[in-house]
Structure formats: structure tokens, C-alpha cells
Symmetry: C2
DNA sequence: TTGAAAGCGCTACCAG
DNA sequence: CTGGTAGCGCTTTCAA
């Protein structure tokens, strides 16, 4: 049988409230040394473990946080998740990871169901088809931190990366290799990150006087298939690009597939730079020049920020933290030869 | 404010128990159509959501299951996790994912903490330094399913793959390419999967009369560094192997690194076959010949099995399910040229 | 320093 | 068909 406070109380000949005081009470609580010792020894003997569910119910604090991400099997989010999990473990929190599949309905449902389970706080990479859920969170005063994505017009906690700069730099980098026609393959256009990357790209196009044909910007999704089709579209242009920027992990696979199917070679025939965080990218064929995120740091900052809010007595002002991305030169970029 | 049954009861002028019956009671419960309708409409109006925590506490059923794996950022486990999460979502369960880092202490701590949170059931890829925790689970009659790994001498639910056969086949495959000296790089030797793969390898070595020098078997860990050092050891042998079998995802990166640092090329100088499930393997340089697991299916079967146990009235007999692995020929195997 | 009582929100049982 | 009551295990307030 499971041991409860009552069992200990009976054995010790004291009241449950006394047992509770000894086992959970603050240090300041006055309990006589004898009874304290007695209770402690009985608890030990019966190997008492508190019923955390009962406690959570009573206290309305579950010591559980939830992480909402599009897909845990995506290396990007897997590593963010891992970093958060390590810290929540150390801080004594349980972490629930939920996959939204970029579907607003799933995000909503998870959020609702988790709220009724009294989750203490959330870390969310929001789907961004709607911001209503996030507004509700604010209104309900539930602590949360957005990660990777935020809403420009919403003042919330957020840990994001410098997408615009990174994208600008990648474009500049390609232009230094004499590329004039650079294709930009978006992921989901509605996302904060993609919007910012697009802005960075467009600014660079303007500044370095690259081909600003709007057809150079294609794609609206993150799957292999999305990348494949977007690339086909680019290749079918009268003046196809000599270089491509990919804004997604898995997306890039589809892009490479499309390039290979045309019997083109990277970087000889076409250059490729990707926003990619898979640890095996250096072993790809060819090794890809990438922009990567310090995912561990992002997770770390997000959790720390959330923890501050969880522990604060009063409501804290929201904070935005921007993390610098890294640029890795490998072997997927060269000067344009054909098409030029 | 949060709406409770009591609020609805007061508004409807009925007792909470009646409200509970309408909102949660079985179909068979008798409630007059009028009151039912009234209660339903008030619940709707106040947008009542049940306090799942209170219910879980009362029912001692949290509708939560936990998945214990070594590392969610490992593609192998990430995809198992994903598959389980999809199903648990559909079945109305919340999933808690915990990373044990192959540390028995972490596994123990998670198990204990989760037990006191009244988790309904577990899916576990056990660390296997000890089996005491698993035995405790059996004794406490807590439903669980082992995944990927099991204990030969413990009758439990388990979903595993045919490691021995796969390893035998990989060895046979290399021997058909005329390899006589094949190195086998283990992951953690204590693990069920590794033990089985080793057995399959050794059986093939015997059957196809390959070099049975025990120094051909090296390694005891899953990190890049482990793979790197193990490979160095193999290469330092008087008669180094002409082919290597890797038993791990990340491990393989270290192996390739060591091979490249020796200025050897795959498969020209040395052949390589790996147990690997990363989706980007076909894009590696060179594309790796691999044994892969139907991870989705493994997760699927594991959850289904657990669900059966969760829903069963009495205790069910444990079941073992074995999933077939797949062999993918790519371009990392050739006939031995040097060393022979 | 300790005991007694109340109650978190819900469900289940018994009685009418 | 409905109301009342009890209680899950814990914490907290008030009183003694």
C-alpha cells in the first residue's frame, strides 16, 4: 500500500497537520525536535513519498511546464527541447512536450487541455495562424515564453534569433561570389522567422543590386516536397537563379533532390546556403554552407526566463532576448558558371 | 474566474452531483432530459472546462503516460517519441518525455518522481545498468512497455527489433564483397540491442569463416568520441579491418571522422555499414549503407500495447513484439583493395 | 508547539 | 431521477 501522511501520523501518535509541517513546512515552522525526529524516522522507515498529485491539486501548482513545438523529430526543435529538459530536470520541473504540426487547431487544443491540468508555465514556438491563444494566455496571467518566433505587435517574453541579419549576411555572402540571381525558398510564410529572413534577403537584394524579380521568392511550407516543388519552380524560370537560400532544415533535402534530378551539381552548377541545424550537415554530399542557431543557448535562456516568472511574487515585465546565429562556410558555394 | 461544477449547480438550481452526472456520467445514468439540457446550456454559457487535476486526483488516473528514452535529440528516439505522441494525442493522453542520458540514476529518479505523480503507464527504453526499477514496476503492477531493449530474463511487455538477424545479415553482406576482416564497433555493451548485434556478428564470423580476432570488436559507448577512438584502435591493429560495422547513429560520425583523418576514403579504402536511422543519411558523403528501424511502427506497437493494458480490467499477460529492420544498399561498401 | 477543521473540485455511493 | 454525504491526500488557518 501507498503510505500517506495519515499513516505516519497514526504511528507517531500525532496529527496529520503536524506531520505535514515537519515534512513540508518552511524552516521557520516551530516543531519540537523530538516530534520532528520521530516523524522523520517513521517517514524514512515507511519510505514515504508524498503524493504529488494531491499536493498539486491543493496548491494549484503542478511543477510542470509544457513545451509546444511543431515537431520533436525535427532536429531544430529536438535540440531546443533537450536543452530545456535538462534544465527543467535540474530545477525539479516535469516537462511535457507537445507537437503542433504547425496546426493552429492542435496548438489550441493542447493549450486548453494543458491549462485545465494546471500547467505552471509554457514555452511555445507558436504556429502563428492566429494570436488569439497567446492573447488569452496573457489575459489569464499564465507565465509563458515564446521561442524562435514572436508576434511583432505583441509584447511578450520571447527568445528569438537574429533571422534578418543572418539572411542579409547569407545573401551578401553569395553576392560576394558574384551571384546576381539568388532564389529564396521560404518555409511557411506566415512565420515570424520566415518573414524576418525574407526582409533580410530583400534588403540585401536592394543594397547589392541583385535581381529583384519577385519570382525569385518561392515556397510556403517546410516539407521535403515543398522544397522540391519550390526548386522546380525556380529552375523553370526563364532566368533561373545561380544560387539558392533555403530557410529550412528538411526543406533543404527537397531542394537538393530537385537539383540532383536535373543532373545539376552543387556548387558547380548552383550554389546553396541553408538555415539548417542538423548535426550531420557537415557529412552531407556536398557539405552544406549553413546558418545555424545556438539551440542550446536558446532553450537555456527561454527556460531561465520562464523560471524567473514562475518564481516571481508579482507579474514581471516581458523581455525579449535575441540570440546570434552562426555562419558556417563549407563547400556548397562557388562562383556562378552556367546561366550567367 | 474559473468555473466549477458548483457554479453550474447554483445557476441551475440543482446539486453538484447532478451536474457531474450530466457532464461526466456514463450514458446509462438516468437524468431527466430537461435538467440535462439546462445544465448543458449553462455549462456552455459559462464555458466550463473540467479541472483535470481535480479529476485525476479523485480518480487516481491522470490520463498521462511517460516515455523514458536516453536522448530525445537522437533521431532514433525522436522518431519513436513522435510516433507515440501522435497516438497518445489521438487517444486523449498527455505524454511526458524524459531523457535518461543512459544514466541509471536519472532513470530511477524519473521513475520515482513520475510514480508519485500517478502516471498511468510507461514506455521505456531502459538504461539496463540495473533491472531493479523494472522489477519494482512489475511488483507495483504499473503498466509499462519496454521499447528497443528488453531483459532476456524478465517477462515484460516489449517492442524490439531483430538486431541479431540484422547484424548477421550485414556481416554476411560484407563477406559477399570478399571482406574477411570486419571490425565491429559496439555501442554500450551492456545494452540488449548491442549484445544481440554482437551475437549476430559473431555467428556470421563463424559461419562465413571470417577473421575471428577478438580485437576486431571494439568500443563501449555511443558518442562521436567513442566512435572516433574505437576506429583509431581498429586502424592501429597490425591487420586492420577492411570493413566496419557501426552500431550507432552518432557513433558513425566519429567513425567517419577517424577514417577521413587517416586520409582513407569510403568505400575505396574501407567499407562501412551502420545501424543508423537519421533521415539525412542518403545525403551523407558518401551515402551510407545502413540498417534502419521502422521507428514509427515500433512506437505505434508500443503505444497500442500499453493502451491495451491501461484499458484492461484485469492484468494481461506480457507480450513481446519483434519488428523487422530494413537493409538499405547505398555506396559505402566495395570490395577490399588495400590491406588485402 | 500542536490539534482541529476546512476545503481544493471532483466522483461515487446510498437513500429517498 | 435527484440530493446528500463522504472522501481522495494534502496544506493552511485558527485556536488552544
Amino acid at each position: 500500500m501507498v503510505v500517506t501522511l495519515k499513516d505516519i501520523a497514526i504511528r507517531a501518535g500525532v496529527h496529520v497537520s503536524t506531520v505535514s509541517r515537519v515534512l513540508r513546512g518552511k524552516e521557520t515552522q516551530q516543531v519540537s525536535p523530538q516530534t520532528r525526529k520521530l516523524i522523520l524516522s517513521i517517514a524514512e522507515e515507511l519510505s514515504y513519498t508524498p503524493n504529488l498529485l494531491a499536493r498539486a491539486f491543493r496548491l494549484k501548482k503542478t511543477h510542470t511546464i509544457a513545451l509546444l513545438i511543431p515537431d520533436i523529430s525535427n532536429a531544430f526543435f529536438a535540440r531546443i527541447a533537450r536543452s530545456i529538459e535538462i534544465q527543467s530536470y535540474n530545477a525539479g520541473y516535469t516537462l511535457v512536450v507537445c507537437n503542433t504540426d504547425e496546426e493552429q487547431a492542435k496548438e489550441n487544443q493542447y493549450l486548453n487541455s494543458l491549462k485545465s491540468r494546471s500547467i505552471d508555465g509554457f514555452i511555445i514556438a507558436p504556429v502563428q495562424d492566429s494570436k488569439q491563444q497567446i492573447i488569452d494566455l496573457i489575459n489569464n496571467k499564465i507565465p509563458f515564453v515564446l521561442i524562435d518566433r514572436r508576434f511583432d505587435d505583441l509584447e511578450t517574453n520571447a527568445v528569438i534569433s537574429d533571422n534578418e541579419k543572418a539572411s542579409f549576411y547569407a545573401t551578401e555572402y553569395l553576392s560576394r561570389y558574384q551571384h546576381k540571381r539568388i532564389g529564396f525558398i521560404c518555409g511557411r510564410k506566415r512565420l515570424y522567422t520566415i518573414k524576418k529572413r525574407l526582409v533580410g534577403f530583400q534588403k540585401a537584394v536592394k543594397q547589392f543590386q541583385l535581381d529583384d524579380n519577385p519570382e525569385m521568392i518561392v515556397g510556403d511550407g517546410f516539407t521535403i516536397e515543398d522544397g522540391f516543388r519550390a526548386t522546380q519552380k525556380l529552375m523553370a524560370l526563364e532566368h533561373p537563379p545561380t544560387a539558392i537560400i533555403s530557410s529550412g532544415n528538411v526543406l533543404t533535402i527537397g531542394i537538393m533532390k530537385a537539383i540532383h534530378e536535373r543532373d545539376l551539381s552543387i556548387p558547380r552548377d548552383i550554389s546553396l546556403v541553408g538555415f539548417t541545424d542538423s548535426f550531420c550537415v557537415p557529412y552531407w554530399n556536398p557539405p552544406l554552407t549553413t546558418i545555424s542557431h545556438p539551440l542550446h543557448q536558446m532553450g537555456h535562456e527561454a527556460f531561465e526566463l520562464l523560471l524567473k516568472h514562475l518564481q516571481a511574487k508579482e507579474t514581471l515585465a516581458p523581455r525579449q532576448i535575441t540570440i546570434k546565429t552562426k555562419f558556417h562556410e563549407r563547400h556548397s558555394v562557388d562562383q556562378p558558371k552556367i546561366y550567367n
